[in-house]
């Protein structure tokens, strides 16, 4: 874990507001599900760093690659930065996804930019027969799937408008694919994660979700990114707060009090 200045190697638009960002930032031990926090301005507007998942490790740990979607002030500034510019990167942060004993049972479920933590897993587990389910809004966005498809993993898509794959929600795909012994890893909008957790639960499958939460520090000190979880006993009364940045962002979906989430 470190905070260090990184040089932008490339920062290229993919499609529909998605960008791919390469950073010269030495690292070791980065695992799928880890994230970093970027400082996108030298001034105080915006003040806080932005959290982005690590998409890939470059050049044997000499750099990292991220995928982001432009949604607000910080990501807009980021999208205007150019090759050669520098920015502060704090990381690697978070717990990451667990190492799998039965990777052939893995079903990854991603919504939009939620695919970020799965590229490394796809590379690793394509050969084991893991599956990748992706929810998109429309066919045009499918360009962000290029890398993942190239791993040879089995990819199934849903789109809101039916222009690619099944029309509807990615959870509809999951319903068909999930089995009792599946291991579901999910990342995407809160609403999607909640549905994924329910589908997995109904099927009796294990489910891990990568959560998002408003963050100030990323290192467990501001206590801002709290998420309500069940304590060890898992009884209704026994609840506590966990921090998305250090206890997560990956949680066992059974531990989350879903109704308490924004």
């Amino acid at each position: 874990m470190k905070n260090a200045s990184a040089t932008i190697l490339y920062n290229k638009p993919l499609t529909s507001g998605y960008y791919k960002l390469g950073l010269g930032w030495k690292n070791k031990g980065v695992r799928p599900g880890h994230f970093v926090m970027l400082r996108v301005s030298g001034g105080s507007d915006p003040l806080l760093r932005r959290a982005l998942g690590v998409y890939d490790v470059l050049r044997r740990g000499q750099g990292i690659e991220l995928i982001y979607k432009v949604v607000g002030k910080g990501t807009t500034i980021l999208s205007n930065m150019e090759k050669g510019e520098c920015l502060d990167v704090l990381g690697p942060l978070g717990n990451g996804f667990k190492k799998l004993k039965t990777p052939e049972k893995l079903i990854m479920v991603a919504g939009g930019v939620g695919l970020a933590p799965f590229f490394m897993l796809a590379k690793e587990h394509a050969k084991h027969g893991a599956k990748f389910l992706m929810g998109l809004r429309t066919k045009a966005e499918a360009k962000i799937l290029g890398d993942i498809k190239a791993t040879g993993i089995k990819v199934l898509c849903s789109t809101d408008d039916g222009t690619l794959g099944t029309r509807g929600f990615v959870t509809d795909l999951l319903k068909k694919e999930v089995k009792k012994d599946s291991i579901v890893y999910a990342c995407g909008p809160m609403g999607m994660l909640k549905s994924v957790a329910m589908v997995a639960k109904e099927a009796g499958a294990c489910c891990y979700v990568s959560l998002e939460g408003a963050m100030a520090c990323g290192i467990g000190v501001c206590l801002g990114c709290a998420v309500k979880t069940y304590g060890a006993s898992h009884k209704p009364g026994d609840t506590t707060y966990n921090m998305v940045c250090t206890d997560g962002p990956v949680f066992n979906s059974e531990d989350i009090l879903w109704d308490e989430l924004g």
Binding site: M1, S44, L47, L90, G213, L223, G262
Partner: protein, 301 residues
């Protein structure tokens, strides 16, 4: 760069880290030399552990942020047993920020810390705006504030710093009241109550509706209050509010502060406090000023 704040508290330099923004200290060891700063303020400690408020707890604002953490902390016992031992190997001073919902809670927490050698001073938070039942009453009424301070004074021989809320008509009255009640030093400011509305959902952004504003946005208010207080008290003042750089810290010192606390900046740059120390050193050298003491309150007004 060393600073004597009186009441037995001497710092190797005037830069501390603000309560609630530096965890229990040890979390920052990967990013900086903890010994490079004058001291560490712990997260606010209460008698019992506190879980804090529902999420969302933070939201960004222009040049600032709101938080409604709700004084979540491990409780004073767990602090002593689990956190404090890890800080012992560092030379930096450890100042325990304490609060309670009643005066007796304040004194109980203070008593528990009294015998801990690793705790070099107490900071009494009479000002946290996030607890409905708690602090705010003490923080906005000079008489109530004095009561808390007098009570804690009776149970501690350690340096007692008292932290003020900016949420008052006249900060000078608060400062004078806590000085008379026995404060060894006065730190200010805590956060300012604020609110952000989610225009799409037509709800407050924070689950608790309101939170405390911190960061560069509040710096001019904080500097003004430090300046005002420095004119009416004789105990040392510790300046807090929006310090991101050494120049920000110098504003407070020149306006009247003997030391400063770096808060929100720790989230943005984990080693911000060390950079502030170095920047102050450079300034003293360039300006040929022998000591921080000479700079404190040196404003030409």
């Amino acid at each position: 760069m060393s600073v004597n704040l009186g009441g037995g508290l001497r710092l190797s330099n005037p830069v501390l880290t603000a309560s609630g923004t530096f965890g229990y200290g040890i979390e920052f060891a990967p990013f900086m030399k903890l010994n490079a700063i004058g001291g560490i303020l712990t997260k606010g400690l209460s008698l019992l552990p506190r879980e804090g408020n529902p999420a969302p707890r933070i939201v960004e604002t222009p040049s600032g942020m709101l938080n409604s953490i709700g004084l979540a902390n491990v409780g004073v016992d767990a602090f002593i047993n689990e956190k404090l031992p890890k800080l012992k190997k560092y030379k930096t001073k450890v100042i325990a920020n304490i609060f309670g919902e009643t005066i007796s809670e304040y004194t109980k927490v203070a008593r528990k810390l009294e015998s801990e050698k690793g705790v070099h001073a107490l900071e009494v938070n009479i000002s946290c705006p996030n607890v409905k039942k708690g602090g705010i009453g003490f923080g906005t009424d000079p008489r109530e504030a004095a009561k808390v301070v007098r009570a804690v004074r009776k149970v501690t021989k350690k340096h007692m710093m008292v932290k003020l809320s900016p949420n008052v008509t006249d900060i000078k009255l608060m400062a004078k009241a806590v000085e008379r009640a026995g404060a060894d030093s006065i730190s200010l400011i805590n956060t300012i109550p604020g609110m952000v509305v989610d225009v799409n959902k037509r709800r407050p952004m924070l689950a608790m509706k309101m939170g405390g504003l911190s960061g560069p946005a509040i710096k001019p208010i904080a500097v003004r209050m430090v300046y005002e207080v420095s004119k009416v008290v004789s105990v040392p003042i510790i300046g807090i509010g929006g310090i991101m750089t050494a120049r920000d810290a110098l504003e407070f010192i020149i306006a009247g502060a003997s030391a400063v606390q770096v808060g929100t900046a720790n989230f943005v740059t984990p080693d911000a406090s060390v950079k502030v120390v170095r920047g102050i050193e450079d300034y003293l050298m360039e300006e040929k000023i022998g000591s921080i003491k000479k700079l404190t309150g040196s404003i030409i007004d």
